[in-house]
Subunit: 418 residues, 2 copies
């Protein structure tokens, strides 16, 4: 049984996204926030600062969706035409709003900037009861909420931080009250099994997909099985039952449930077990530590990190035996093992980890091609080290990301067991 | 004067993007690669694995664009319907291709995986002369190039690394030959000036925008002015002349030209000057080092990094005076200064840098709210330290990113001068 969902459209306006200069994190932030309160994004469109394109996209959205989220083109410069285009589309006049101008002056004063005549454009606001003013606490461009018939249109600045603040502080609380759906899902996070094998394993069950909708979301570190329903109370139970079945079927490959990222789960487990962590990184160059310190509150568990990028620093900081560096190479199980020993000596953390590899594009050899990575960890109380060799595919950034994530995944598995 | 451009559409198919689970880096990669060879992306759409949506988007693309790039929905599982939907739209039959199957078997053997019956679906390929097979060297899902009338449709896997390889190795070389446009642009990278002031300054010139199209691209570390034309040889000269004018007008605020990222420019300058760099990070937690080591070849200039996250590690590793930590706090000019002294002592790098701040969401105080960051650097040969205080707005990830980028920007300014 499914019930009708509220459909959402996202329209991102901006040449900087179309030219590939900027990655569209705004769309993923909005859709993910909507998803979490049961609202489903049916389409995302990116278009340029062009009145014709904006109107055509808006018309399509008004037909297909109940809620439309527009970002971008609210800046003070002449290439920012979103506000004026919408006003002419809906027939609103603009008026100078003193309260908005006061807010702009305040913000500029706080930042020690003198406002410009051109900033006054941002204090212009539609003079209509159908348009609510959404205060932009993080910037100067005001947001708008247009109500027209059954449809709601939210217009937000394109600067990610300003959009996020407006979305979290103003729009989501409003939506939660009036539009929150009953979308329900559970994630099962697997690793070390390809999507096709996982699918074969699960779909071989005769009542697959167990009355739910099942999606396979490949991540660098594994495949996440998302079990969802668009239904009511009974749909919820179907999802829970299916999650239990899948957890049983794939149990050897599951390392976590419904995680934000491997680093989030790692920090959660370390906190739970009151343990501290320190890291030594070569090829990931700080990305592992940065992933861990992306997690709010990670300072309670993460003590310190060493990025021993050069051979000299591996020797000098972590006392890696220079002979091992010469004989086995910096990218080897032996070197990672030495790095772990060094970490136990220089830190007092409960768990230490180390990673060394070839991120590319250069530096590969026949026996150790680009993507070869050794990563491992050990705990101070257990002498046994866990070190694994990987052959990651992908460009430099991908290899770094996969290595950092896999290291976290293995520590999550270890902490989950212990 | 402008000439007609080849229009491109990008269609990304996949629930994982619509749900916000995955950020759409595929679209930015494709559009940026197209932009670089003078092809302009007119729209990007993200839709779900739904035959109706795919057909409707395809029809729109066939009307508006000459080149259509589709990613996603080529996996072996039942929620992957892109190939079959396109075949039914164009009236192609599928046939089992032994050469594709052989390639799949090879790939699986290399990874030590036993293929599944379900993988055979991926060896099914349209039996039509209008469809060319695009080999996926990084994965099992074959790509397709459909030619229909004047239109070209490229279908690629959704896994970023597989898509990228196919785009770089097969599709771009083809496009360069037959479709390369004459889009030309120059970027001017500014910092420490808000978009509105920059715009006021430039647009006050009486012949602004100097016969070009000028866009303002806000980054965390500043505003990039992009001057572009869609024209022929004379358009190119207009852009060059405008770039020169703007460089003169805004010269105090310009720190670089046409950079990929501040870290890329930093690595380039360090290489040019044959200098080495090491870093000490607190609040950025490794992100600065990771940005630097994202740059291919950075191992030639980046020696080592220390993530002194806990107070204890600042004292133990960098000999930061504990009294200063108590009196001035870890987030202070004095502590960063001590961190720099420590770095000069523990490394032999030519330049050392250090950063300490409050990334949030917790840890802020009235005098040092979330977003307060001290960052600085010094060179071994010049005793003077450069340390600056910032008040960044944004969430934890944004503060980390802005701090890491600004630190790189300041070093770029320093190295550019020296």
């Amino acid at each position: 049984m499914t019930t009708e969902l509220t459909n959402c459209n996202i329209i991102n306006i901006g040449d900087e996204i179309l030219s590939g200069h900027t990655i569209n994190t705004n769309a993923s932030f909005i859709s993910s926030a909507l998803y979490d309160i049961g609202l489903y994004t049916r389409r995302i469109s990116v278009i340029s600062d062009d009145a014709g394109e904006i109107v055509s996209e808006l018309e399509k959205g008004m037909k297909d969706a109940e809620l439309i989220f527009i970002t971008g083109g609210l800046g003070p410069t002449s290439d920012d035409i979103t506000k004026r285009t919408l006003c002419s589309f809906f027939g609103f006049d603009l008026e100078f709003r003193h309260d908005i101008w006061e807010h702009i002056l305040e913000l500029f004063a706080k930042r020690g900037i003198i406002p410009d005549e051109v900033n006054k454009e941002q204090a212009q606001f539609p003079a209509s009861e159908r348009v609510k003013y959404l205060k932009n606490t993080a910037g100067t461009a005001p947001g708008m909420h247009i109500e027209t018939g059954e449809k709601h249109i939210f217009i937000m600045p394109g600067v990610p931080n300003e959009m996020r603040t407006m979305m979290m502080d103003v729009i989501l609380p409003y939506l939660k009250q009036d539009f929150s759906g009953d979308l329900y899902y559970r994630d099962i996070n697997t690793t070390d099994i390809p999507e096709s094998s996982l699918y074969s394993m699960l779909s071989a069950e005769k009542d697959y997909p167990f009355g739910c909708r099942i999606a396979y979301l490949p991540q660098g570190y594994g495949v996440t099985v998302r079990i969802k329903t668009t239904g009511d109370g009974s749909g919820r139970k179907l999802v829970d039952d299916a999650a239990e079945r899948i957890a049983e079927l794939a149990k050897d490959r599951i390392f976590a449930h419904s995680i934000v990222s491997p680093a989030h789960e790692l920090v959660r487990l370390l906190k739970e077990k009151k343990m501290t962590l320190s890291s030594a990184e070569s090829c990931t160059g700080g990305l592992f530590a940065s992933s861990v310190t992306d997690v709010p509150g990670s300072s309670a568990v993460f003590s310190e990190g060493y990025i021993t990028y050069s051979n000299d620093s591996k020797f000098r900081i972590l006392s890696v035996n220079p002979q091992i560096l010469v004989i086995n190479g910096a990218v080897s199980e032996e070197t990672v093992s030495e790095m772990l020993d060094g970490m136990l000596a220089v830190t007092d953390s409960d768990i230490v980890c180390a990673v060394s590899g070839i991120a590319g594009p250069d530096g590969g050899t026949e026996s150790k091609p680009v993507g070869t990575v050794y990563a491992g960890f050990c705990s101070r109380t257990e002498p046994e080290k866990f070190i694994r060799k990987y052959n990651f595919s992908g460009d430099r950034a991908t290899v770094k990301r996969k290595a950092a994530d896999k290291l976290a995944v293995e520590m999550v598995k270890f902490l989950g067991r212990s």
